[in-house]
């Protein structure tokens, strides 16, 4: 849900709400869509939004801007300008990214004197987007290991090196859990899960805390055990910021020199974690429309 725009016409249709400015369609429009799936890469999101629009000549794209909604959801906004039909056109796109869907505010403006105004409104609407999702597990924002491939499994992502399985090493980034969970509890729960899959733990010990971003406390454990005919060495890192707990796992059955290399990569991933914004505690007002509040 986004706020109504005073003086603008709002036209709900299908999966979207379109706002038309007081100056009329010839000036531009802003379209809001919510719960759009699937979640695509940034480039694919842009391509999806611009598909069906007149092709822009000499298109220029501004730097993507990170933002956080009032509810603590993460988003990204970008401006694209170019010429279409001999006139300058500006697109402002703001995406609010949730676990498995996104909401998008897409403004198109055809009059240069209103470009900045449209850009401001699009970003403001997105920042006030109310999805009312409550406390939940969320995706963690981190820098993926360079050159590794990522396989998404729900909210979890498993990263493996280009020479896998010769280099039998994976990094698993588990979704962030709301609350400050004890690292020992996560260790215990994960072991329970692994034992059910045939893993036989041999040795568990605490490690030096890994480096983490300011505001994040970190703990780390090493678990050595056997799975089938392979000895696995696992490092479990648990980051906490008081609002969320961010577990991350390195598993390796590779030779020692590759494990040392992988541990460096893992520690960089851990260090790159960006804490999620704390959520606004208020519950959104009563819903009278699926689009606006």
């Amino acid at each position: 849900m986004i706020p109504l725009l005073a003086g603008w016409r709002s036209l709900p249709a299908g999966d979207r709400l379109t706002f038309v400015p007081p100056e009329g369609n010839g000036c531009g429009r802003i379209v809001y869509r919510e719960r759009v799936r699937p979640l695509l890469t940034f480039e694919a999101l842009l391509a999806e939004q611009l598909a069906g629009q007149p092709t822009l000549e000499d298109a220029a794209r501004g730097a993507p801007e990170l933002f956080t909604t009032e509810e603590g959801e993460q988003g990204v906004a970008v401006t694209i300008t170019g010429a279409a039909g001999g006139h300058l056109v500006r697109h402002d796109l703001a995406f609010v990214i949730v676990e498995d869907f996104y909401a998008v505010v897409h403004g198109v403006c055809f009059r240069g004197e209103h470009f900045a105004r449209f850009g401001h409104i699009v970003r403001d609407l997105a920042r006030h987007d109310s999805l009312g999702l409550g406390a939940r597990r969320r995706r963690t924002l981190y820098t993926p290991p360079p050159g590794w491939q990522g396989l998404a499994r729900g909210l979890e992502t498993c990263w493996f090196p280009v020479d896998y399985p010769r280099n039998r090493t994976t990094i698993t980034v588990v979704p962030a859990s709301p609350g400050a969970l004890a690292a020992e509890l996560i260790l215990e729960e994960r072991l329970r899960l692994d034992v059910a899959s045939g893993f036989e733990p041999r040795e568990v010990r605490a490690l030096d805390a890994p480096a983490a971003a300011p505001g994040l406390g970190a703990e780390s454990f090493s678990i050595v055990g056997r799975l089938g005919d392979a000895i696995f060495v696992r490092e479990l890192a648990v980051l906490r910021d008081g609002t969320f707990t961010y577990p991350m796992i390195l598993d390796s059955a590779a030779p020692i020199e590759l494990r040392i290399q992988a541990r460096k990569v893992f520690r960089e991933v851990v260090r790159s974690v960006v804490p999620l914004a704390a959520r606004r505690p208020e519950i959104p007002r009563a819903i009278v429309s699926q689009w606006v509040d």
């Binding site: 694919a44 730097a63 993507p64 995706r139 993926p144 491939q149 998404a152 399985p165």
Partner: protein
């Protein structure tokens, strides 16, 4: 998501990866009989589990396409197990070059869908 071949061959064709089917036998049967012309049948003359150059498991089938008891084509069918995904490659030939290309296959799991938040927010974090 697709198969990348470190040793490419014009006679080896990879297909987009698919989630591992519940019924692998039915999946395999479908692969073996697809594209057959009327009057043709397929015979599996060899099968075995091998590993790719990097160690990915591959179920490899040497199949003959037969018409009126005459072999009209000999092919390799490779089923790769890439974690919970399956890759399929066919080779129009069964010689060493085809085998070398097939066993050089590895997964490329990139796609349009985001794997993690950085795939969407990363460009903004970087800038």
């Amino acid at each position: 998501m697709q198969i990348l071949f470190d040793i490419p061959s014009e006679r080896v064709h990879g297909e987009p990866l698919v989630p591992r089917p519940e019924d692998m036998s039915a999946f395999l049967h479908g692969l073996l009989v697809r594209g057959l012309a009327p009057g043709e049948e397929v015979r599996v003359v060899g099968a075995g589990d091998v590993e790719s150059d990097l160690g990915w498991p591959i179920a490899l089938f040497h199949v003959n396409v037969v018409r009126r008891d005459e072999v009209v084509a000999a092919r390799l069918l490779a089923l790769y197990s890439f974690f919970e995904w399956v890759g399929v490659a066919t080779a129009d030939g069964v010689d060493e070059d085809c085998v070398a290309a097939v066993t050089s296959g590895r997964p490329d799991v990139r796609g349009r869908q985001a794997r993690c938040l950085a795939d969407i927010l990363g460009p903004a974090v970087a800038s």
